[in-house]
């Protein structure tokens, strides 16, 4: 019924005219276009229409926070740099607080933390601290936002090698609490958690655990559909599948993993073609790993690694720049090319340090 309601509110808007509610009509229709219908540019156009109504109709200000979380959390990241969504999300949060739309304010805050984490800012950035403060000082807290933020804070702690406090929930604890509540679908929360877990396993090179989790986790892409973690999941799904294919003993196993990886890459290629600027470097990294799996020549593999590193650096995804360097180092290590291996390893350590992932830097230093 959800899509039918969207069509209904949209239909009335087109038939009878616009008002504040039309913001919801355009933005929710934008979600459908950006996600399931795969037309992010048209989704962006709907979001723009809502933004125009918000800026020109004084009576529509009550929709500011609600529209901000939908536009930035579900629509804009498909066609805009992730970092550009942060300021509007903060504004949306503030608008929600002042208008009394606390639900939307909390969603804005949640998406801001999610996007800040994925956008490659230093893990100890003030942006995260600011979001935590805003959440703590919010007089209308709720368990959903609390758990949502905890997922990302936990990931930061693990990457920064910060000990968990006594009674602090780990991922399992978060999921258990979520399943007991009903504020946000436990399935949705599970998808957010699993995406982060997959990312952590990949960063720490724990490919076996990553593979096991990938086999048991729900189809995050199907569940989340439009938010950025669905995109992120697709990238790590591809990477983990290629790694699993590389380490598979049987040909059939390898073929199955490769097929799944190709499917992920297909999505990513299409999204890039439709204007997604946040995953171009991811595709190059997947291409490098796939080329390696296919046994192509050294030059081609390094070219893909290099372009992944360059694009990640250009788009300020420092964590992916680090990962690309690390995987390149690993590749040259397997070829016994020590100079190339050390060159990329040095770069990986530098990038992880810049990102603030102390635990990962320690891991690489120990391996070195």
């Amino acid at each position: 019924m959800f899509p039918l309601l969207i069509f209904e509110i949209m239909n009335i808007t087109l038939e009878f005219g616009i008002n504040a509610s039309s913001c919801d009509a355009f933005t929710t229709f934008g979600i459908l276009l950006s996600g399931p219908f795969g037309k992010p540019q048209q989704g962006r156009e709907m979001a723009k229409a809502a933004e125009l109504i918000l800026s020109t109709k004084p009576g529509a200000s009550r929709m500011q926070s609600r529209s901000a979380n939908v536009i930035q959390g579900f629509i804009n990241h498909w066609t805009m740099p992730l970092r550009e969504t942060l300021t509007p999300l903060l504004e949306g949060y503030k608008a929600g607080r002042s208008s009394g739309d606390f639900e939307s304010a909390k969603l804005c805050l949640g998406f801001r933390v999610v996007h800040t984490f994925h956008a490659g800012y230093h893990l100890n950035t003030d942006l995260i601290a600011e979001a935590i403060n805003l959440h703590i000082n919010f007089l209308h807290p709720d368990i959903t936002t609390e758990l949502w933020l905890q997922i990302y804070l936990l990931a930061i702690k693990k990457l920064c090698n910060i000990e968990l406090e006594e009674n602090e929930k780990d991922f399992d604890g978060i999921l258990q609490t979520t399943s007991e509540g009903q504020a946000m679908s436990s399935l949705t929360m599970q998808c957010y958690t699993n995406t982060i877990q997959l990312e952590l396993y990949a960063f720490f090179g724990d490919w076996e655990e990553a593979t096991s989790l990938l086999l048991t986790t729900s189809d995050v892409r199907a569940v989340l559909q439009s938010p950025y973690p669905a995109v992120r999941y697709t990238f790590f799904e591809g990477l983990i599948c290629i790694k699993a294919a590389q380490s598979s003993v049987g040909k059939m196993d390898s073929w199955k993993w490769k097929r799944r990886a190709l499917k992920s890459m297909k999505y990513i290629r299409r999204w890039i073609k439709l204007g997604n600027v946040n995953i171009i470097h991811c595709l190059h990294l997947l291409e490098a790993e796939l080329t390696l799996l296919n046994g192509k020549n050294e030059k081609t593999v390094e070219d893909f690694y290099k372009s992944a590193i360059d694009i990640a650096a250009k788009n300020q995804f420092i964590q992916d720049e680090a990962l690309s360097n690390e995987l390149a180092s690993s590749y040259f290590g397997s070829l016994n090319n020590v100079s190339r291996r050390d060159y990329y390893l040095g770069n990986a350590i530098r990038c992880y340090s810049e990102w603030g992932a102390t635990a990962k830097v320690e891991q690489l230093n120990q391996a070195e």
Partner: protein
């Protein structure tokens, strides 16, 4: 026992109300303020500060029980006017023609401060904490001029509609006419709305509460003049209390409006609040049913109403069909063209749209798993359609100018 009284002149014309002793404002420092006005005439405000902690002042008549003799204006027989008015530190003097004794037509009380005893202070603090929250005291400067605010200073009963809280009204109420009450309630309503615009929800809630107290007579619901004000005070009050987390009061006000409201238009605002409160408890199915029912009462059809009520699943083909229709209606219009569509004027449709907003939230939560499955199915179908070169005519017909076949997930 020592006491002082101050007379202050406000050189402004304000609308009128009288206020009972239980409607005094309370502050954390233990002082209490009350605002009382006369009719359309210049107000003379008096501030009383009583240091005697056991005195029980009835500021509307400026009478303290500790005094035995006083006149009708609440002045004590032994009070002598001197320079500066009744009180030594009054801001205007007798020479200025301002004295409640020399100019008795002036209504004296406007501002009362009472220092309560230690024991009383505890009670007062409890009342503030429980029923109004600290720092929420509105002042005249917060609202528009003439906005009146009052609060029960002694009762610990949180129920602002409890008749007992108003039975303690004193002799000032005798000078209060219905017109004055209405005017004052209107001012409180406006002041509440102003506070809402400033995101001062606690203050707004207090203004609405004060307004409701002034119209705290059940017969007013049948009064055509008072009824709209009461409806608005209760409806806006319900929404504000929802925001401030006073759920008991919210529900009480919702019930009041639903009980006394005659039309769906009158009840609409609290239906919105009711949906929000139901959603806040996680009962999205009930919220969904309520929203659908309101739309029905508005005379608006809702897609798949029967399917929802009968718990039937909406088919993917139906979704694609509707998507095609909307795509055709969109007609490739740009964002600017869409934002410049004529403004919706029909109040009934506007209400229906607002219901749809809330329904979208509820529906998303109710059927999140089925939505996700459905979206996945749509994606798969779209993926399939994009791979076949000859699309069946029936499906082509669904496609509008924006082309039905989604191009992602290829």
């Amino acid at each position: 026992m020592s006491s002082t009284e101050k007379a202050v002149v406000f050189g402004q014309t304000m609308a009128a109300t009288a206020m009972s002793s239980d409607e005094r404002d309370e502050k954390h420092d233990g002082t209490e303020e009350a605002v009382v006005s006369t009719g359309q005439k210049t107000i003379r405000a008096a501030t009383i500060t009583t240091n005697d902690t056991q005195s029980s002042c009835q500021q509307d008549s400026t009478t303290c029980s500790s005094y035995t003799d006083h006149d009708t204006l609440g002045l004590h027989d032994d009070d002598k006017p001197n320079k500066g008015g009744v009180l030594p530190d009054a801001t205007a003097s007798i020479e200025g023609g301002v004295s409640v004794i020399t100019t008795p037509e002036f209504f004296p009380v406007n501002h009362v401060k009472i220092m309560p005893s230690v024991n009383e202070k505890v009670i007062v603090d409890n009342v503030i904490d429980n029923s109004t929250r600290s720092g929420s005291t509105p002042s005249n400067s917060t609202g528009t001029a003439g906005a009146y605010y009052s609060k029960n200073s002694k009762s610990t009963n949180k129920n602002d509609n409890n008749a007992s809280s108003t039975t303690a009204t004193t002799s000032a109420s005798s000078s209060t006419s219905k017109t004055k009450l209405i005017a004052s309630a209107k001012h409180n309503l406006q002041a509440g709305k102003s506070a809402l615009e400033k995101s001062d929800f606690d203050t707004a809630a207090d203004y609405f509460k004060a307004g409701r107290k002034q119209l705290n007579d059940i017969t007013y619901w049948d009064d055509d003049e008072v009824r709209p004000i009461l409806l608005e005070l209760c409806s806006e009050g319900a929404h504000t209390c929802y925001i401030t987390g006073e759920h008991d009061i919210t529900n009480e006000l919702i019930d009041q409006v639903l009980h006394h409201g005659n039309t769906i238009q009158e009840k609409f605002r609290v239906y919105e609040v009711k949906m929000l409160t139901v959603m806040a408890t996680g009962n999205y199915q009930e919220s969904l049913s309520l929203g659908l029912d309101v739309r029905k009462q508005l005379g608006l059809s809702t897609p798949s109403y029967n399917r929802v009520t009968n718990n039937k699943v909406v088919s993917t083909m139906m979704i694609l069909k509707r998507y095609g229709e909307i795509s055709r209606k969109l007609d490739n219009r740009t964002a600017e063209e869409l934002a410049n569509l004529p403004e919706l004027q029909d109040e009934r449709i506007i209400m229906g749209q607002r219901m749809l907003e809330l329904l979208l939230t509820s529906c998303y939560q109710v059927s999140i798993v089925s939505i996700q499955s459905l979206f996945m199915l749509i994606s798969i179908i779209c993926n399939f359609l994009s791979h076949i070169t000859i699309i069946p005519l029936s499906i082509c017909c669904l496609s509008g100018p924006t082309n039905l076949v989604p191009s992602a997930y290829l």
